[in-house]
Point group: C2
């Protein structure tokens, strides 16, 4: 006998958890679809060369690699120089680490057949060998939507609207933080970090965690001149996303980069009147990933403490590494697992998530089974209700306990008397009300 | 630059393929749900000891093992005795090989919380390092439903009905082959193979591939006495699944085992009048897996050549290996990938699978974008139609080409003139018909 247990950092999703997960996925999917995004699914495994070198040194360490099949001894024997060499020799595949790289690989392979702009959404698990902790899993889900093949700022608007719609639908008030990489670069130059944009963004990106003083220390630790940085606090902050604030910023920064960014942002601002959620221009928003080139987004809960629940931005060279150039695009990603935890903590999942079936049919005697099965067949064929026949006769209390454990809405009780009269006794398990009726009436009721 | 390519035996599913795959999954899911099965999802990775020893020697070879993270050199160095020892030392996880073992592991871990009978369905990918060939992939999908915790033959009936309903819904006529392991054992004894049941079933299981004479040769190669086997052809064949045939078989075999099996089969037969598809009692059906103990099923296409598309059976000790005894259950599994290929070959997927959006909005000038976006918002908020704004103004032909490439049903054309009149021009892309209307009329039309 062996003890049954899970791999560290992974989870089972029982019936209720699946229902909750699908509630989030379906909400996101519905919004993606309504904006004309079409689904893509890529394999769980990618060639190791597709994955490595895309996520930085740390990312490469966190990849789950798949051991080659067959005899690995000979290759292992001749590659004992280093851990890295050994791993490369005996594993040529890895598990998907995100959805962006597989999407880029797919795009490069299918360029000839894709009609641009191509809008795809993708909701699939990804795997990372991170240290598991509350809210961080080794198998988790990403929900991405990308539009590629156009620089139109309509796409930026769509991203904002989709963030807005998803979190409205989930009753989760958020603040959409928006920035533009060119605006950030203009600010970096204004503060004296010309030519040091990457170090600057890496430091800024930590503002949430280490605070303003921490950022100053970090910059100084890299021997950067922070003498002009005293102006930073009024520049690296949140602004109302309105034309006056955009104009003021443009006048403060007086640079070509800033003007380009403000032009984009103003155009986007002009495309809508109102959102359900708040939106701010957050010039301290950096986004770690270096491939962003235009607008960037991060969505945070209005009632804080949970970090970001969605993010995204525009990029210019997603597929370049695979030999396909000049594909501009923009993508967003929802963190479904964090959203799940938040909805759970705030008790915001709809009640019906715990219902495992609609109707339980309770046969009282062995010889009523044919009638019970016939009733089940009628319900399944003529209504949308799911229905289950308790597989053993007798003991009404036991059967009703079972119905309650499943959170069923109705119990249909069938004894010999009911069969004789060609009717059933139906009990509403919420109200406790019980009455007899024939099958036609039953179907009408359940429809 | 690197060449973008897929791992051997894996596939991308583009928008149309996802729609087709979901058509199959949704059909199966709907039937499972209507019978009160609730969803379960288990992690892609399991501990290697959960997986090994469950699928036979060959199965263990076909597992995809995941390389341990961190430095594997020390452990590799001290475990160079054999390929097996090395692999065990450096990988303690593997990818899901089927859905049955994870389900057993889940059941054992959650026994205290599960209300019996527990009915779960599970639709997830599994991975096997089989040699890829047409119709055989290294990542493929299983669609399972199991009822555990009851020996009621209602469950067998439900399996038959679910096979029937799924293939009816897919317009794919099938023949449901049914047998009972005890009946097969009675036949084995009748033919002189007492005590050799496993060797007998292994040989019988190959009947489809090697024919009757091949089975005889296989049995003889194992030094079994085939002198009584001449009677086999009339006993190992398909019968109408009707009470007369059951009675005849019982009289021929005259054994306790046969009588038990016939009693089960007769009870099941008594539970229904008619199915959409054919059902036969197929006494030559063995099912390779040794854990079956009662009824077994295999579903084959009526127009043959594709092998089986679904299968299942009753088992008695699914969770025993994890220390939980006496859990009888019954499960079925649909082979979604084979079903996909069959539906594709027979051109049976519904037409609408290729529609990537419902409506394309075509803005003719830069300054109509606000109106175009407002129209899109109205459509998304007030109808179920998905809708996409072409992100760049101008060139109607190019935009209509795009609409056609997406298989959209409508193009909504908006120029300055339309904006002035506060209306749109809508073109039905199937009929070619085009007319102008205001937004209220448009919403009415699209609803």
């Amino acid at each position: 006998m062996q003890k049954a247990s899970l791999v560290k950092g992974t989870r089972d999703f029982g019936p209720i958890q699946v229902a909750k997960k699908n509630y989030i996925f379906d909400t996101i999917k519905k919004v993606f679809k309504s904006y004309g995004f079409a689904p893509l699914e890529t394999p769980s495994m990618e060639k190791i060369e597709t994955l490595t070198g895309k996520y930085g040194e740390e990312g490469d360490q966190l990849l789950f690699r798949i051991l080659n099949n067959g005899d690995i001894l000979p290759k292992a024997e001749s590659n004992f120089d280093s851990n890295r060499a050994l791993k490369s020799a005996i594993s040529d595949k890895g598990l998907r680490y995100d959805l962006t790289v597989p999407f880029a690989r797919y795009t490069a392979m299918n360029m000839h057949a894709l009609k641009m702009p191509f809008k795809r959404y993708q909701i699939q698990p990804v795997w990372r060998a991170d240290r598991p902790q509350k809210g961080r899993y080794r198998e988790f889900w990403q929900c991405d939507a990308d539009t590629i093949g156009t620089r139109s700022l309509i796409c930026e608007l769509e991203c904002i609207e989709m963030f807005d719609k998803v979190f409205s639908a989930l009753n989760l008030p958020v603040v959409i933080h928006l920035n533009h990489r060119k605006l950030l670069e203009a600010i970096a130059i204004h503060l004296g970090f010309e030519g040091e944009f990457e170090a600057f963004t890496v430091a800024i990106d930590k503002m949430d965690k280490i605070g303003f003083d921490g950022v100053v220390k970090e910059l100084e630790s890299k021997n950067l001149d922070t003498s002009k940085f005293e102006n930073a606090q009024s520049l690296l902050t949140t602004f109302d996303f309105e034309s006056k604030q955009l104009k003021d910023l443009d006048e403060t920064l007086t640079s070509v980069l800033a003007t380009q960014a403000i032009k984009d942002l103003s155009e986007i601002r002009g495309y809508y009147n109102q959102l359900d959620n708040d939106i701010v221009l957050d010039t301290s928003l950096a986004r770690g990933l270096s491939y962003y080139t235009g607008c960037i987004f991060e969505v945070k809960l209005k009632e804080g403490g949970f970090g970001s629940v969605a993010a995204g931005g525009r990029y210019d060279d997603l597929t370049e590494v695979f030999g396909v150039k000049d594909i501009s695009g923009i993508g967003i990603s929802f963190g479904a697992d964090r959203m799940y935890d938040v909805l759970e903590d705030l008790n915001l999942f709809p009640q019906e998530m715990s219902k495992m079936t609609d109707v339980l049919i309770c046969p009282m005697d062995k010889d009523v089974f044919s009638f019970a099965l016939q009733t089940a067949r009628k319900i399944r064929n003529n209504t949308q209700q799911s229905c289950l026949v308790y597989p053993k006769e007798g003991k009404l209390k036991k059967q009703l306990d079972y119905a309650n454990a499943l959170n069923a809405q109705y119990a249909i009780i069938i004894g010999s008397e009911e069969v004789e009269k060609n009717e059933v006794s139906i009990k509403n398990l919420n109200s406790g009300e019980q009455k007899n009726m024939d099958l036609t009436q039953l179907i009408e009721l359940l429809k």
